[in-house]
């Protein structure tokens, strides 16, 4: 088991924004259980702003903490701002991640971006 920062332990033990938004405006999924981690982000968008962000995660402690942190970081941001959240930002906000867990922060950012892009695509079509 990896050595985690207090921040990671906090987000792991008390994850924020767990769940799935019914009738979400965007859905993003990454990973699969074979490679050990799987995340699903659902978002609610209002006036170009992420009004709500929720996640479901199958994965290790880092994956859960990353999901929770990403959801918190994204909430209330504009879509453009949220799209700029990088894996490095996430790791930094968590007071760093063990080296062999850094890929988890990629997954978290990716899942969020996928959800946003899903929303943007749907919206494009609607327009």
């Amino acid at each position: 088991m990896a050595q985690y920062s207090e921040k990671v332990m906090d987000h792991f033990s008390n994850p924020r924004n767990v769940g799935e938004i019914p009738d979400a405006d965007g859905v993003g999924e990454v990973g699969n259980p074979v490679c050990g981690d799987m995340m699903k982000f659902t978002i609610k968008v209002k006036d170009g702003i992420l009004e709500d962000v929720k996640f479901l995660t199958f994965g290790c402690g880092a994956a859960i903490a990353v999901s929770s942190m990403v959801s918190e970081m994204a909430k209330g941001k504009t879509l453009e701002e949220a799209l700029k959240i990088t894996n490095k930002d996430v790791a930094k906000e968590l007071d760093s991640l063990p080296k062999n867990k850094l890929h988890c922060s990629n997954l978290g950012a990716d899942a969020l971006h996928n959800a946003i892009n899903d929303y943007l695509q749907k919206n494009e079509k609607n327009n």
């Binding site: 088991m1 792991f12 769940g19 259980p33 050990g36 996640f55 479901l56 290790c60």
Partner: protein, 392 residues
């Protein structure tokens, strides 16, 4: 509730009596057993006695025992030493897909040197099929190495049957008994094995203590060459305290085998029963009966092992997992893959290895905490949510 340690697969505490017996050899009787004078006499005698105890423990002559520093050394010595000694006779070796890395990795090295290695598959219980062994043996086969029991899924192999097949074909048979020693009666005469590896820290002996049984008449080259300690089979100043501790641990394990296995398996069985009645969607891995008495291996569906471990750890419960994420090498367990467990279930695997301090009183606490943890993690698991919707 105090901490509950159910992760004894790679480490048991040293028995207080064993430690006591070891103590004088650190400071008072520190002499070199090979030295000519009185200071070496006590250590030399202690080595003789320890060798007898370990010999008795597995039914061998004392002089068929070589002391090593750990089971990994015993396994490396067995495989490389037999391969080198029988090189002219043949260069084919047979093993199973679920051996410990201290068997598999030396074999990979031998493969690079030109040896052929056959990795026998196992069934979904983790059992090697004797008929498959028989078919795999060729005129070029010089060594078969199959573990006595698997430390992860706990499955006990039909060693006697397998060793007999090797014997019929004039092939040397090695068994890695590291996970079994102390938990199953072992008798090299009955089992008909030619080599057997074990380590003391698996059954309340000290770390740094291991042994390799080599049947008289079996040729073997040393791995650690130098002085004539261990009759030239293993150089290096004898680690007297560790060897004394191994001997005493073997004596105790032999004497108390029945009592210990009874007590361990009763706690284990109670844990198993309560877990399966208290938590849904669990899978038992390994064989239902042919398993080590202190071993329980399950998969918790829909969740990942490291996350389970962390919550349990916070509750003072220590277990291990075959999940990719808990392995330092970030590899999933080759054993779980070999028994055909799906990657999801492998990710959610939990290994309970009991020690003698675990009691039935702890069981309900463990079950409650694991139930809570599973519930919490499943609530956030996309796989579980999908299952609830689709009932896959």
């Amino acid at each position: 509730m105090n901490a509950v340690n159910l992760d004894n697969v790679a480490a048991t505490p040293v028995d207080p009596h064993v430690l006591e017996v070891m103590m004088p050899y650190f400071k008072d009787h520190y002499g070199n057993p090979s030295s000519g004078h009185e200071l070496g006499e006590k250590p030399a005698r202690a080595l003789v006695e320890a060798r007898e105890k370990v010999g008795d423990f597995i039914g061998s002559n004392p002089d068929e025992i070589t002391f090593t520093s750990c089971a990994s050394e015993s396994n490396n010595m067995a495989l490389k030493g037999i391969a080198a000694a029988y090189k002219k006779k043949g260069q084919h070796i047979i093993t199973s897909a679920i051996e410990h890395f201290s068997v598999l990795n030396p074999l990979r090295t031998l493969e690079k040197e030109g040896y052929q290695v056959t990795y026998l598959p196992v069934d979904h219980y983790g059992l090697v099929d004797p008929e498959q062994l028989r078919k795999a043996i060729s005129s070029d086969t010089v060594l078969v190495s199959i573990m006595t029991a698997n430390p992860e899924i706990g499955t006990i192999q039909p060693i006697k049957e397998l060793a007999e097949i090797a014997k019929e074909n004039g092939v040397v048979f090695h068994t890695d008994a590291t996970a079994a020693a102390g938990y199953l009666p072992l008798d090299v005469e009955k089992l008909k094995v030619d080599l057997l590896s074990l380590a003391g820290d698996q059954f309340y002996g000290p770390k740094g203590s291991g042994a390799l049984f080599v049947r008289q008449g079996t040729r073997i080259l040393p791995l650690i060459e130098g002085g004539i300690q261990e009759k030239g089979r293993r150089a290096g100043s004898e680690n007297v305290p560790a060897i004394v501790g191994l001997g005493e641990a073997a004596l105790l394990a032999g004497e108390r085998m029945e009592e210990r296995t009874k007590s361990l398996s009763s706690v284990r069985d109670s844990l198993r029963k309560q877990l399966f009645s208290g938590i849904t969607h669990l899978h038992l891995n390994g064989h239902p009966d042919k398993r080590l008495p202190h071993n329980l291996h399950i998969s918790v569906e829909f969740v990942e092992g490291e996350a389970l471990l962390m919550h349990l750890n916070n509750a003072g419960i220590y277990v291990s997992s075959g999940s990719t994420c808990t392995s330092q090498a970030l590899k999933s367990s080759h054993v779980l893959a070999a028994i055909g467990l799906s990657p999801e279930l492998a990710q959610g695997s939990l290994l309970f290895t009991l020690n003698l301090e675990n009691s039935v009183e702890e069981v309900s606490y463990i079950v409650e905490r694991l139930a809570e943890t599973a519930e919490k993690l499943r609530r956030m698991s996309p796989l579980y949510q999908k299952y609830l919707k689709e009932g896959s």
